[in-house]
Symmetry: C2
Subunit: 207 residues, 2 copies
């Protein structure tokens, strides 16, 4: 019994057990991210994820109510990091500095936390209610990026580009990392972040 599944990691669990449970949840998310990276959400089976952990697929149901909940948890974690990053970007003064910082940090999140998993690719996999939340958070991020660029234009740092299009270019370059980046490859994450920042910010400053 005890189909706790998910819910508030709340009550009546001894600290030790609760810790262990949370660690296992993290391991499952980790394995899921790797699997999603290889094959995408739909083509990934629960057995693929379980196999990474040396366990049978039914064991996963002790931690998540269904497959979608795993994808959802991955998104939540990812969006949380993005929002933390948005806050810490406040300390930068100019639009160029801020945008460069955001690009470097987003690249770092993609490569470190997500292992380059193409989370942003899988929005359509959610049932309507959950999709709403994810899409809202994504839109908030996009609008925030757009404001940075508009500010840069107003301050004369950037050319008078269409900021909507520019944001899509930036996010496209970053999200696409999921399609080719491999942690064990020759391209290293910090350099990747720097190069992307120079390329994408540079394209706005010069004319």
């Amino acid at each position: 019994m005890t189909p706790l599944a998910d819910g508030p990691e709340s009550t009546t669990l001894s600290p030790h057990v609760r810790q262990k449970r949370q660690r296992r949840r993290a391991e499952i998310l980790h394995a899921a991210l790797r699997a999603f990276r290889e094959n995408g959400y739909h083509a990934t089976t629960l057995e693929d994820i379980a196999e990474h952990l040396g366990v049978r697929k039914t064991a996963l149901y002790h931690y998540f109510p269904d497959k979608e909940a795993i994808l959802y948890a991955c998104h939540r974690e990812s969006l949380g990091e993005i929002e933390r990053m948005m806050k810490s970007a406040r300390k930068l003064a100019t639009a160029s500095e801020r945008l460069a910082y955001v690009i470097r940090e987003h690249v770092r999140i993609m490569t470190e936390t997500l292992e380059g998993s193409p989370l942003a690719f899988e929005v359509t996999a959610f049932s309507p209610d959950r999709a709403g939340e994810i899409i809202a958070a994504r839109d908030r991020y996009e609008r925030w990026l757009r404001k940075i660029i508009d500010q840069g234009i107003k301050d004369g740092e950037f050319r008078a580009v269409d900021s909507k299009i520019a944001v899509f270019a930036v996010l496209g370059a970053i999200n696409w990392i999921a399609r080719w980046y491999r942690p064990e490859g020759t391209i290293h994450a910090p350099e990747l972040g720097r190069e992307f920042a120079e390329h994408l910010v540079g394209g706005l400053t010069c004319g």
Copy 2:
């Protein structure tokens, strides 16, 4: 009978019938691209595709041996356009001009021919043999792009960037179009191509 399915649109078909058959194949590909754009390859059912055509799913088997073959045909068509574009880019002299042209044309292909369908997202859906051909063509395109950038660096037009990373930034921005572009939206394809070209080429020239 006559399970011709695919194969060389070759023999023993009266011209009129052959033409009609090819038109139907094109219609199927068209419908498939639209469906793939909405939901991705795996989440798209043969019935989804058939519905667009007002026909039952089993009818599709008269034109393609299986679902994967439909995706394969979409890729072939897309890669054909890319290769034509590569040839026509020869007439441009400088690396900047050539790269800008390629970006504008690739954007046009994404928005017009493919209706913004995320073909490049679905490479992992193929069985090994077919995957090889698609990946080889994609790699050829990437190497060709990289040469343009390396030439630009040598000629002093571009900064001394890592051309591999720069190519990924360019392709990421372009392929990501599939995730947000809608033909009926406010952003128009030609402007999109121009903005992308200025942004992504500009990021290499200035510094």
